[in-house]
Subunit: 143 residues, 2 copies
DNA sequence: CTTTGACCTGTGAGTAGGTCACAGGTTTTA
DNA sequence: TAAAACCTGTGACCTACTCACAGGTCAAAG
């Protein structure tokens, strides 16, 4: 397979194939006649695997690590279980934080219902934001 | 105030102060004797405002836009309400997507309970991931 | 046989929002 | 007077791609 064929087969951008190749996740051979890359079904498997892993939240270095372990005929699965568990916790924390943010945003919106717009007066830029309580207290300081 | 003083006052990295200055969000004056930047309380207000706005999900260009409007003595608040509403929707969508991901991850974990690790055999890299159903069907192709 | 279009190549830049490193100048403290 | 702590600007780095560019290759159409 050539670049675009592999890309199409895996449903990704051809540039992603080239990028992954540069990054060492794919190991194509080269046609010496025209200098083209040649990918086989193993590469397709690796690419599909990489995409799935990315969707699951693995970083590219993590994906490469898994692939490398597989190349050395070590089972990467225990590591996968491990990193996966961590990623799940990361995702849950992200959700938590976003829900906090959402809550604060909604109460800010509610509080803004009754606030006038007001023109900047040199003391305040936009009351809507300045009076938003982010419960991260800033320190006070004088010039 | 000098860079580090302002940074400390606002609870940010000094490099962030320099970065925001380069980006035109802060307008310090210069001491011609030593070429140092001098920030006043107005800059501190702007910096704090910028940080709050960033926490609310405004992008730096948006923050700059608000600040510029305030400099021109136009009330930026209607724009703020508008962008804020959009950000809220964005946040809610992010939450939605993360919850979807979390759901898929949890069911994957459950399915993995009973799967053996297995050593890579050339056909499969890590069953855990390859057998994960991401409901994004890939096309089939032969070499 | 030539042209056209689709593909290939590598390299480099761009994305967002900072953070860090570097080399050299200044100020403050001991 | 010397070290520590600060200042300056510039440029690289981070993620995970994506896009642009300039030039080479190839298959089909004319």
């Amino acid at each position: 397979m050539k670049v675009k064929e592999l890309a199409t087969a895996a449903g990704v951008n051809p540039d992603t194939v080239r990028f992954y190749t540069r990054e060492g996740l794919l190991n194509p051979t080269r046609n010496p006649e025209n200098n083209y890359q040649h990918y086989d079904t193993e590469d397709l498997r690796r690419l599909r695997f990489a995409r799935k892993a990315r969707q699951l939240g693995f970083s590219l270095p993590e994906v490469r690590q898994i692939l490398d372990q597989a190349d050395d005929h070590h089972s990467p699965c225990p590591m996968v279980r491990d990193v996966f568990q961590q990623r799940l916790e990361g995702v849950e924390q992200e959700i938590e934080e976003l829900q906090q943010l959402r809550k604060r945003m909604k109460s800010a919106l509610a509080a803004w219902q009754d606030m006038p717009d007001g023109t900047p007066d040199g003391q305040t830029i936009c009351r809507l934001i300045e009076h938003w309580d982010d419960n991260s207290p800033a320190k006070q300081v004088e010039e």
